[in-house]
Amino acid sequence: MSLHAIAASVREGRATARAGIEAALERIAAADGTLNCFTAVLVERALRRADVVDAAVAAGKDPGPLAGVPFAVKNLFDVAGVVTLAGSRILADRPPAISDAPAITALEQAGAILVGTLNMDEFAYGFSTENEHYGPTRNPHDPARIAGGSSGGSAAAVAASLVPLTLGSDTNGSVRVPAALCGVFGLKPTFGKLDRTGLFPFVDDLDHVGLFARSNADLALAYSVLSGEGVTADSEATPPRAAILGGWFAQPTGEGVAEAVSRVAAALGNPDRVELPASDVARSAAFCITAAQAGGLHRERLTQRPMDFDGATRDRLLAGLLLPAAATDRAQRFRHWYREQARALFEHYDILIAPATICSAPRIGEGSVMIGGREVPVRANLGLFTQPLSFIGLPVVCAPVAGCDPMPLGVQIVAAPGREDLALRMAGWLERCGVIRSTPLPAPQGEYA
C-alpha cells in the first residue's frame, strides 16, 4: 500500500493507526531475526503515538498527509530516549539523546509514526553494512548477500516491506548504493537541502539526509513533507531533457549494469551521451576529504579507544589523519572546478543518467568481484559512480530498473542543484513507462525462509 493510501485510510477512519503499527511491529518481529535491519524497535513509543493519531481522527482533526505511516531511521539520527549509536560500540556508552532530530519531528508532525532505529556501517564509513558490532544486514532478495551501505538497514527494511518509509544519510553514496542493491527508490537531495541537525556527523562537507521508499510517488510525498516544497511525482507527457553520462560512468561493469542503463536510455529514445570530465579525480578528491575530515572528527576516540572501533573503519580513519593538508586543500579547490563542469552540462540537459553501482549485491564477506575480466576489491568500488555526484552535492533519485534478475540494480537520475522536482518527474515518467519499479521479492526459500 502506498503512503498516500495508508494515510487516506487512517484520515478517513477506514483503518486505525494502531492497527497499522501493530501490523508493522508483527512484520518486524517475524523477519528481522533473519534480516537484522533494526537495532531498536520502539514499541511503546510507536503505539502511544498511534493512539494520538487515532484520537485526532476521532476528534475530527486532520493528523496530516502521512497519518499512520510507520517509518524508521538509520541509527545516527537522534531519537529521544535512545542512544545514538552511529553503528559503533564506542558511542553505546553515551547517554540517550534528549530530543528527536528535526527530520523525525517533521515526519511525525505530518502524522507518521517512528517504529525503530536501523543498522548501518560503523560511523557511516562503508558501503556494505557488515557491521562488526551489530552484525550484517542481509539483503531481502538473497539473505546471503549484503544490503549495501552505509544505510543498509534503511534500504533492506523498505525492500522487505517491514516499513514503507525510512531515513538514511548519504556522504559518498550511502543512500544510493543500498537503494540500488535492495531494489527500492532512494533520494539524496541537494547538499544542504534537508536539516542535518540531530545526526551524528561523518564528513561535514559531504553529509546529506536522504530517504527510501517503494515507489517514486512515496518518495516525492515524504520529501515534500521534509523539505516543505510542493513537489509531486506527477509526470508530463514528455520527460525532461536527458543525457546519458559516458566516460567514467561507462567503464566496464558487472553483469547487467550496462544493460540496465541501456533500457533506461532506450525508453528515453537513446539521448546524447555526454561526459562529466575528470570524474576519476572527483572520486579521489571525495576520498581525500572524507578520510581527512572523518579522521579529524574521531581523533580523540582513536587516541583513547582505538581497539573498540571496527578494525576496517579504524584503519581508514587513522590513515586519514596522516593525509597532508595540501591534498585536501587541492581537493576543495578541484571541487569548485568540477561543479562548474556539471553546471555547464545542465545548461543543455535537465537530467543526467548514470549507473548506481558497478555490480549487484555481492555475498556477505566477499572481498572482490570480477569486473571486465579483472578482479577488483568490492567494498571500495561500490561507490565508484556515486562519489563524484555527491562530491558536488547534486540531487539524485536512485531508481530500481525493472527486469533485473535475480538481484536488483539501480540507475541514478541526476538533476541540477535544487531541482529535485525534475529528478522526481523523470523517475515518475520512467516508472509510468514500466522501466523502473521496486524489485519484487522472490518467494522465501531455503534456510532463510
Binding site: V281, G311, A319, A327, R333, F334, W337, A380
Partner: protein, 62 residues
C-alpha cells in the same frame, strides 16, 4: 617485511608520533594499506592542473 614495507611502516609511525597518535601494533598493516590507497588518490588530485583563480569550495552548497 620488505625494505619498502619497512620504510612505509617507519614513515607512518613517525607521522603518527608527530600527531601524538598511538598506533597499536595490530593496526599498523591496515593503516599502511589505507595510507597507500589514500596516497594514490591524493596524487591524482594533486596532479590535476587547475586554473590559478580556482577558489577553495569548503562547506559549499552548489
Amino acid at each position: 617485511m620488505s625494505v619498502a614495507e619497512a620504510s612505509d611502516a617507519a614513515l607512518v609511525q613517525a607521522i603518527a608520533r608527530s600527531l601524538s597518535l598511538p598506533l597499536p601494533e595490530p593496526t599498523l598493516p591496515g593503516v599502511i594499506l589505507n595510507a597507500r590507497i589514500l596516497a594514490d588518490h591524493a596524487a591524482r588530485v594533486l596532479a590535476f592542473e587547475l586554473p590559478d583563480e580556482c577558489p577553495v569550495a569548503t562547506g559549499f552548497a552548489p
